[in-house]
């Protein structure tokens, strides 16, 4: 596949992942490090559906069903992992979710029916730029609408002060679980789009490092800002690739330069590029839209 097309699609997939994780980490304040696990679940279940079960329907319908399956299975995994883990706080939650993320990966590694450590091959390339960015729009609209309703305010109040939120009559556990499931579900969609873009997935695609990179995207963009998550995802997907084009020296040192840029950005703007602010294109173009 064309390198630039592939990169653009990867940007979209990482936007979905980052916006989903932002609901969990940035909006609800629950520090999750298991996002790559949910991504893997979506990628594998949708790929298994397409390869083993899918009836002879047009490709885009199969992909759409695959995305829905990815959303549901990853969402259920989020529920199963979230219910015991979300009673933990802060660092403990991070470690527990990290553990579960790795468990998912290792379970897949030991499943021979989906290729095990050799990877899952022969997935048809059903995804394209249009479907990826359609899902990007769906993700952003759904999460932005949740956040600006009463359920979203409940989720944000947990980040601000959990004890006060409880005292305001908010069932904090329920809304933490909701945020966790929706975030995980969209990671599953990103997984479905990913497996049908690359046509080959293996457990090494979903290591703990990727959870960290998705987390970096939202920290860089600004925790709690959807706009920030989008911009963070674009920068962190493109930057390491972009550095290939500045001659041999830069190309060899690109991961070092990439790290230094990240360190500098965090020193100059510790709250991330956008902080908690949003850029609303409708408002910007004076087409209405109120807070």
């Amino acid at each position: 596949m064309d390198y630039f097309l592939y990169l653009t699609q990867m940007c979209g997939i990482f936007i979905i992942l980052a916006v989903g994780l932002n609901l969990i980490n940035g909006m609800c304040g629950q520090f999750s490090l298991g996002h790559a696990g949910f991504w893997a679940i979506g990628a594998y279940t949708s790929a298994a559906f397409t390869v083993f079960v899918a009836p002879p329907l047009p490709g885009f319908i199969v992909l759409f069903i695959g995305c829905i399956i990815g959303f549901i299975t990853a969402g259920i995994a989020g529920l199963i992992i979230g219910v015991p883990c979300l009673r933990l706080k802060g660092d403990y939650l991070a470690i527990a979710t990290l553990g579960f993320g790795e468990i998912i990966r290792i379970v897949i590694m030991n499943m021979n029916s989906v290729g095990g450590p050799r990877g899952f091959t022969g997935i048809p390339q059903l995804s394209n730029l249009f479907w990826v960015y359609l899902w990007v729009v769906i993700t952003i609209v759904v999460i932005a609408n949740i956040v600006r309703g009463t359920h979203g305010r409940a989720i944000i109040s947990i980040r601000e002060d959990e004890i006060a939120a409880e005292s305001m009559g908010i069932n904090t556990f329920r809304y933490k679980t909701l945020a966790f499931c929706v975030g995980a579900g969209f990671a599953g969609v990103a997984g479905a789009l990913f497996s049908h873009t690359t046509q080959f997935i293996s457990p090494t695609n979903f290591t703990f490092m990727w959870s960290v990179i998705i987390l970096l995207m939202i920290i860089l963009g600004g925790m709690g800002s959807i706009t920030g998550a989008v911009v963070g995802a674009i920068i962190l997907t493109i930057l390491p690739e972009l550095l290939r084009f500045f001659g041999d020296t830069v190309s060899q040192w690109r991961m070092v330069i990439y790290s230094v840029i990240l360190i500098l950005l965090m020193m100059i703007r510790p709250t991330g590029l956008f902080g908690k602010h949003e850029f609303n294109p409708l408002k910007f173009l004076k087409l209405g839209g109120k807070s």
Partner: protein, 256 residues
């Protein structure tokens, strides 16, 4: 008249420490009651038991004749008990309006799907909630601050916002944990009037923990005094001021 809230010999133990011992009180539907005592006497522990943050080791708490001990704090708030905190706990990075709207959460009934698809129910309920929030902010004299972040409000207004937020849950009993802490005499005076006015206007019961004796003696009709977790006196402001046990708890005894 039946009390709206009643604690029956509630005891709270933390390991070997008895923080509150067999504390009993009754609050009528429109009472304004004070809870005082020296530092560490167990006043906030009593609050935390009433609001469900602690489960009493022994004893029962009745609200509207129903036992509420063991229920989740959120459920108790939905039932009609709201509180403020000793060290202000606002949603600091949210606007004043959002702080109030969050308190109205349990009154809204539209589902997640309505929120995602912006249905008619969503707009109707949100508009109603917004109007209610504006009205409450207006009577609490905070309407000029609607869009400010809670953390940017001056101290006195933050205290007032916390009371407004508690009122927005539509309580029948309001618990105020040291509302005058850190206030200057002018602000305290204003607060004194506000507490009385809130009680009369919303027709609710108020239970107040406070160290500012002037405020307590001025607004409370009945006062409970605790020391070392024990109830040592109960009565009107005049009785309390002259009660030898209370004077002893606050000032100590003379050693001969």
């Amino acid at each position: 008249m039946n009390p709206i809230m009643e604690t029956q010999a509630i005891t709270m133990r933390f390991g070997g420490l008895v923080a509150v011992n067999e504390f009993s009180m009754k609050i009528g539907a429109n009472d304004l009651i004070g809870l005082i005592g020296p530092n560490g006497a167990g006043k906030t522990t009593i609050f935390n038991m009433i609001t469900g943050h602690y489960l009493p080791s022994e004893g029962k708490i009745l609200f509207n004749g129903e036992s509420i001990s063991g229920k989740e704090p959120a459920v108790i708030t939905q039932g009609g008990i709201a509180r403020t905190f000793q060290n202000i706990r606002l949603f600091k990075d949210l606007s004043v309006l959002d702080n109030i709207r969050i308190a109205g959460h349990s009154r809204l009934s539209y589902g997640l799907a309505s929120s995602i698809f912006r249905t008619k129910a969503f707009h109707e309920e949100e508009n109603k909630l917004r109007a209610e929030a504006f009205e409450l902010l207006k009577i609490m004299k905070l309407e000029h601050r609607v869009d400010s972040l809670a953390k940017n409000l001056p101290y006195g207004e933050q205290r007032r916002l916390e009371i407004a937020r508690a009122l927005a849950t539509h309580p029948k009993l309001l618990l105020l944990d040291e509302p005058a802490a850190g206030m200057n005499p002018n602000e305290t005076k204003e607060l004194t009037g506000l507490i009385r006015w809130v009680r009369d206007h919303f027709k609710i019961a108020v239970l107040l923990i406070e160290h500012d004796m002037k405020l307590v003696m001025e607004v409370c009709e009945s006062i409970y005094v605790v020391d070392h977790g024990e109830l040592i006196a109960h009565g009107g402001p005049k009785d309390i001021q002259n009660n030898p046990k209370v004077i002893e708890a606050y000032l100590g005894t003379t050693e001969v």
